[in-house]
Subunit: 508 residues, 4 copies
Amino acid sequence: MEKITILQQTETIFKKNWKFCIGTGRLGLALQKEYIEHLKEVQEKINFDYIRGHGLLHDDVGIYREIELEDGSTEAFYNFTYIDRIFDMYLDMGIRPFIEFGFMPKLLASGDQTVFAWKGNVTPPQDYDKWYDLIQAVVSHFIERYGLEEVLKWPFEVWNEPNLTNFWKDADKEEYFKLYKVTSIAVKDVHPDLQVGGPAICGGADEWITDFLNFCENESAPVDFVSRHAYTTAKPHKVTPEYYYQELFENDYMLKELKTVRELINASPFPDLPFHITEYNTSYSPINPIHDTTLNAAYLARILSEAGDYVDSFSYWTFSDVFEEADVPKSQFHGGFGLIGLNGIYKPTFHLFSFFNQLGVEQLHRDDNILVTRREDGSLAIAVWNMVLEKGDGFEKHFELDLPIQNNKDVFIKRQTIDENNGNPWKVWKQMGRPRFPKKDQIETLKEVAKPRIRTERTSTKNGRVKLTFTLTKNEVCLIEVNPINDETKSYIGLDDSQIPSYSKEWC
Amino acid sequence: MEKITILQQTETIFKKNWKFCIGTGRLGLALQKEYIEHLKEVQEKINFDYIRGHGLLHDDVGIYREIELEDGSTEAFYNFTYIDRIFDMYLDMGIRPFIEFGFMPKLLASGDQTVFAWKGNVTPPQDYDKWYDLIQAVVSHFIERYGLEEVLKWPFEVWNEPNLTNFWKDADKEEYFKLYKVTSIAVKDVHPDLQVGGPAICGGADEWITDFLNFCENESAPVDFVSRHAYTTAKPHKVTPEYYYQELFENDYMLKELKTVRELINASPFPDLPFHITEYNTSYSPINPIHDTTLNAAYLARILSEAGDYVDSFSYWTFSDVFEEADVPKSQFHGGFGLIGLNGIYKPTFHLFSFFNQLGVEQLHRDDNILVTRREDGSLAIAVWNMVLEKGDGFEKHFELDLPIQNNKDVFIKRQTIDENNGNPWKVWKQMGRPRFPKKDQIETLKEVAKPRIRTERTSTKNGRVKLTFTLTKNEVCLIEVNPINDETKSYIGLDDSQIPSYSKEWC
Amino acid sequence: MEKITILQQTETIFKKNWKFCIGTGRLGLALQKEYIEHLKEVQEKINFDYIRGHGLLHDDVGIYREIELEDGSTEAFYNFTYIDRIFDMYLDMGIRPFIEFGFMPKLLASGDQTVFAWKGNVTPPQDYDKWYDLIQAVVSHFIERYGLEEVLKWPFEVWNEPNLTNFWKDADKEEYFKLYKVTSIAVKDVHPDLQVGGPAICGGADEWITDFLNFCENESAPVDFVSRHAYTTAKPHKVTPEYYYQELFENDYMLKELKTVRELINASPFPDLPFHITEYNTSYSPINPIHDTTLNAAYLARILSEAGDYVDSFSYWTFSDVFEEADVPKSQFHGGFGLIGLNGIYKPTFHLFSFFNQLGVEQLHRDDNILVTRREDGSLAIAVWNMVLEKGDGFEKHFELDLPIQNNKDVFIKRQTIDENNGNPWKVWKQMGRPRFPKKDQIETLKEVAKPRIRTERTSTKNGRVKLTFTLTKNEVCLIEVNPINDETKSYIGLDDSQIPSYSKEWC
Amino acid sequence: MEKITILQQTETIFKKNWKFCIGTGRLGLALQKEYIEHLKEVQEKINFDYIRGHGLLHDDVGIYREIELEDGSTEAFYNFTYIDRIFDMYLDMGIRPFIEFGFMPKLLASGDQTVFAWKGNVTPPQDYDKWYDLIQAVVSHFIERYGLEEVLKWPFEVWNEPNLTNFWKDADKEEYFKLYKVTSIAVKDVHPDLQVGGPAICGGADEWITDFLNFCENESAPVDFVSRHAYTTAKPHKVTPEYYYQELFENDYMLKELKTVRELINASPFPDLPFHITEYNTSYSPINPIHDTTLNAAYLARILSEAGDYVDSFSYWTFSDVFEEADVPKSQFHGGFGLIGLNGIYKPTFHLFSFFNQLGVEQLHRDDNILVTRREDGSLAIAVWNMVLEKGDGFEKHFELDLPIQNNKDVFIKRQTIDENNGNPWKVWKQMGRPRFPKKDQIETLKEVAKPRIRTERTSTKNGRVKLTFTLTKNEVCLIEVNPINDETKSYIGLDDSQIPSYSKEWC
């Protein structure tokens, strides 16, 4: 039993860094109707500020082309037909691009090495002048179309995970620094106030952070922010044609990592730079079934609660299962990263984010399992979770909260729950026999069961305080809202529900 | 414990008479946006064929007017601006008008007596020739606008509850028969195949049925159908400024009534006429809180199940709380008839109709508490209910079904429930302190809790049969769907959910 | 020929007072779907800040009711069901209410006198204490629902045209001042920063303005703004059962009136008060066909151009033909005030407002027939009109403009026209045989022809200036936009349209 | 001057073969939002029955994959995630797939040769058994998802233009016949009533038709229809990096071709087979600017009018410029095939189809320039065009029609026009400086000018006949509708528009 007594006063702010940015499948997918529908739902319920994905310069978006002239020579042709359609759509939805420059257009690439089923080219430019021109053309076009004031708000990040050989040829650090310098100068040459950063590395190579910042200092490369990724799974211990199975580290593992890197930056020549986690999740694999589970939500709850202490943003990877890194999804549930699964079905982690989005700014209490906030209108909003990595039954967790209520009114308590039996379409889909390509009625059922369970009650307040006791099942995540009641019952003159057949006083 | 063993074979058809027609508040309200939104939802989820309401000729729809000519005389002016807008909308939604002629336009009325807060005039025409002209003009206009083929499908009913003094001056039977004859002839003079009927009486005066049919026979008045209403509450035993409280009769009361009247028709000069119940509900009062309860749904379940045995249609009164007979609603829940409450909140009875709409045509079993059907695709759909008129706790009801399953596959069972604790926004609204004019977040919560609870499971089949045991709480109504599973699990090579952290074999 | 040479520099601002407020039919109509659809289109294309109409306290909105208690006494019951639905909708559309308190609820009225087909009661309250309570309850409810910050932006105007006997019993000035004082104090007692004003008179009785402000000074009645109406037609010279025919004054008649009243205010004890024209139009009659004509647009163009010099706002009466003051409209076009006619058909005056909404803030030139502005992006936007009150043909007007173009680029000129032959659905409807209740295909045609004619061309610039010559037909209103061209033609290497069959160089 | 006198009687039917089918870019594009929006508009205004495009089996739709098993072997995996999403969407829009089997999945291909920017593989299967399995799996899945009754209505066509070396390796006829036989048997083995056909050749190789049908006869290959393509341009005489320029043949060239091939079929062993033109247009190039012109519409008018005499269907290639055969479009107008251009802008040919969709079934007169029909409601609908291949000005064409009008009423005439100056967004775009990636306000203007010009008038009838004289400018296409008027003018008592200021009798 966790007993918590919440004081009336606090000056702690719960920061919204968790909703600064969200990840997406490669930008070319943003032309698709289902992608756009999922993003619309995410924005309505969670409303992120920025979106970041790979593939701005990949050949399906088609920005970099060459035209052959009459004399047989070629010249660059920059085609913005698709990227305009995509960014127009983002901005219409109230979300801004967090630009990632990559991967290499085939016509500019120095080699054939690619990553992902969609074959992003990961080799350095064969000609850095042409690359510089491309970066300038792209950034200039954005300003021409959207205005300088708007584009000054867009971070520009150079490449993705160059410390891995599959994302950057030979994980060649010197070559990356060269790319970074050319790119960042190309951006700043368009306008000096544009924000550029890197090195966008994945975990396990944090010496790159230090080296990168020293390089910027020594080589006078512009840098406005530092970026890194964070995942918390070990290498897969079992791999099938369709799935990766991996162990999870404890969830303070990620928090410690972020703290450590922040300290590295603090100790660097640029101690004041913002620090963005431009990707994070449990597993880095798009075919790990953990992403479809309730555990995923329960595990990440503490990250959303605490990671903002160390980083300026952290961007969940990704909002939707409209995603092709491991090929076209082979089944309704396939272990994809998405908050929303195929056919618009919410996964448990979607609700985790939606719950956090309903929290207040005033942080009254926080520990490993709970975050108590007060909203502007005086109501309390509490996120609470019971993450359990062990297998087996049981593991219930009991809570007793003693909460302050302004003006001593009775309260209306609304509790929204996702757990193994509620808001868990993955489980129902398994009961259905795991239909790969579900039919309309099956999709309808999966949508219906993908909603949180809601429980409500009315409780009386004593001396300006209310006591709440409740129990969380394994991997349950709850949002509990406590609203002082403006009771109008007495205004119904002569009201007596027990005069209704079937209803006694107790039922009403 | 009710134990039921269902045989494989049946030739009984479950008739859709229950969805032939739905009631509406006066037609003038059909201009309103909220009315139209509610009707749209009703049509999407239930899809009635016809809609019937008062007030076609009431002054707010504005059909009958007079124009003063230069010489000081007046002539009739028929204004179809509003009724065209209304009927265009109905037909766009796939619902046809079941016409009720009434009430009397002020300029044609012989007196001042009105009914309802909206003051429908209930006096005979001061000039039956002008009335005849009006009927002809109206019917002719419908044919001109919608085509004869369409209008031949519309029943025309003459007046509403003329056997009550508040709906027809002095409840004057002779005067009604006169009205009926003039009206029916006016209709038939437009086209002889148009369908006209009456006497639209409420219960308690069934001698009118016999008298009416004899009158038609003796006076050669055309008649194509017989209509009547049916409500099952006693007079109110308590009345407050906002509510009527009434006792309910047992629900076979209505079934017996319908049977009796059908026999009266059978014994009349027109034994083959269709018989339409053009209004029914528990209470006839628009401010009886019973309409907002789960009891209302549980009570009417048997009516939907069985009334089609006796009548060609029965029209639930009404689809929406956008309704003004007892003045503008004073509160979110006020005892209105609507399947949908103000602000688009589904009441329990909405789900009763939605559940019935998902039943199959093949009726495998029916008794007082359950209706088992098979759908065209071979799945079973079962409606089951536990209506309890007594006050107090308990009253659970246990069922054990032994069901035939084609091709012996495992089955996926989906059970949707409304009861006192699920799909019951009235209860949550009371917890909130009965807000009369709820705010957006309160409306959002009420919408969320107005959905049925859904439970799913997978069960194995033995020898082509499956056993289901379940318990219904007080006033619970369920839809249970049993779908044979097309199991694809084996196609996932190497699948093993127990490789996921937290999940053991038992959890998956 | 009007020749105008426009200088490059200006410091004159074209004020948006013309779009501060728009009139509406009585608030009860705001529940209707067609009303809401029209308002949505108006907001998309014109986007007014406020909306003002009669009937807030009329019985169909149903705010004031009384409940009978058990002891036989009654007490007030304030029902906000409908007004909440209406104001929620307004605010969702980005438009705020400009409150008009009126007319008298039947239960509070001291007499039976009514105005309009919808019977607004125009008698003083029988009990000023109950009236005070009502005003307080209403204003308090608005603050409770929408927040103080929001409601502080709403002007509260007391009554409508009390100087006319048909709008205020006996046009009793002393009684109005009493009503005003009680009402304004009731508002200020809720919060002292709320804005209240009057006397909302129609023209022809401007001594009321002076008397009213002296009264406020002498009796310490709060006053935050002065309001008045303005129409420019004489009494009808011909009246038929369906139409009023009236002569129009010259259109500077209204401008002079506004100037005069502004001077009256300046000379009063409250010289700094804002001055709102809370209604204006050509004719004050809802059945004058002039409202459906192109003349109406051409006539009002100068008002939109200049009235903002004298008044803080002027509110066109009204946005839609969903309107019932002269009964339910009897025909598609019936002389209603609306910018949008029944069935969503734009009238010429709609486009006048839409054209003005596309003007810039920088006013380069203005005279009786033309208003030349520059927009923030450097393009020019010109409204020009040729109002002709005389009958007969001819009356074309020629213009020659010499305009400054920044950076000397060629310009793309887009000219949108409404005149007797374009954007004139009234004319096409007459060709159709004036169908009162048009069918869907007729409505479709009327919608198609209700759009402006568009002409485009490309013109070259010389020395940073471009010359435009054009001719306006009788009653034509144009929006001319002049956009410097960012020419990309040369980037199409080898382009030659004359290589296409049928097209010679001249055609391309 | 063409003078035409139309008789009252006719028994000729104007067949709707022209709207049986429409072409589309490769199926993978059907996931995109803009594609779907364009198709929605096409269906609303034209409503084709079927849609046919390449790429069902291309790797981006992703149907054919292989999975590696634990023992190192592989097996086929059929992924229907995307094709289900696409066909669900088609059927929701009321359009059925006209299946084309092709191109070759990379994993099944015998070589590397590809066609188009999107690299469709055009080599035979490396293993015909696997191909047979694939076809069976695909067709079986369609039946499983959509039902046999539905899929029996889908034609299955084998490959695309195998007579061209770029579409089928070496244009190897024997290999194609082998492919055809295996494929058609695979289809028929799923269900013998499914319809299968070929050879889908382009023009210029009609001996394939004869050879193909003889092959089917000799080798007992099933065949249910014959298919072929038809384009009417010569080889390009000028090619730039962005455009093809080609000469057009006279437009009876195509009609003669169709007649000739129909005769070939008639003379074959299968004389009764249906004959489908599964692609046609002026130019076969997706970068020929002719597709953006008014000429394209004027040219094809006669084809729509007459081709149905010879073929059972002819499928315009294609409905939308969302198309990538020549890479991502580089500009707003780029010579694409689409009826609808990028950003939803209607091209002239869109209106040609929309005009034809409004014609009646009763064909009163037809010649090279005009098609006169009567609709069910008695109105006349006339398509008339003035195609001019010569360059230069002039070329107007005058018409005088003498038309029968039922019941001798006056008529309302609505004339919709597209020509070089109306409904021609290509021209306005050129005036704008050919912006490649237009901004929102430019797109808005292009949409506005992409609508037909509408002229209306009222004309009187004499002796049941009306005379129409009109002139068509170069490349003009018109729809003229002649509707008998139901005149209600007289019902407006006292009406006199000349009482309105500005309006004399002549204006009204």
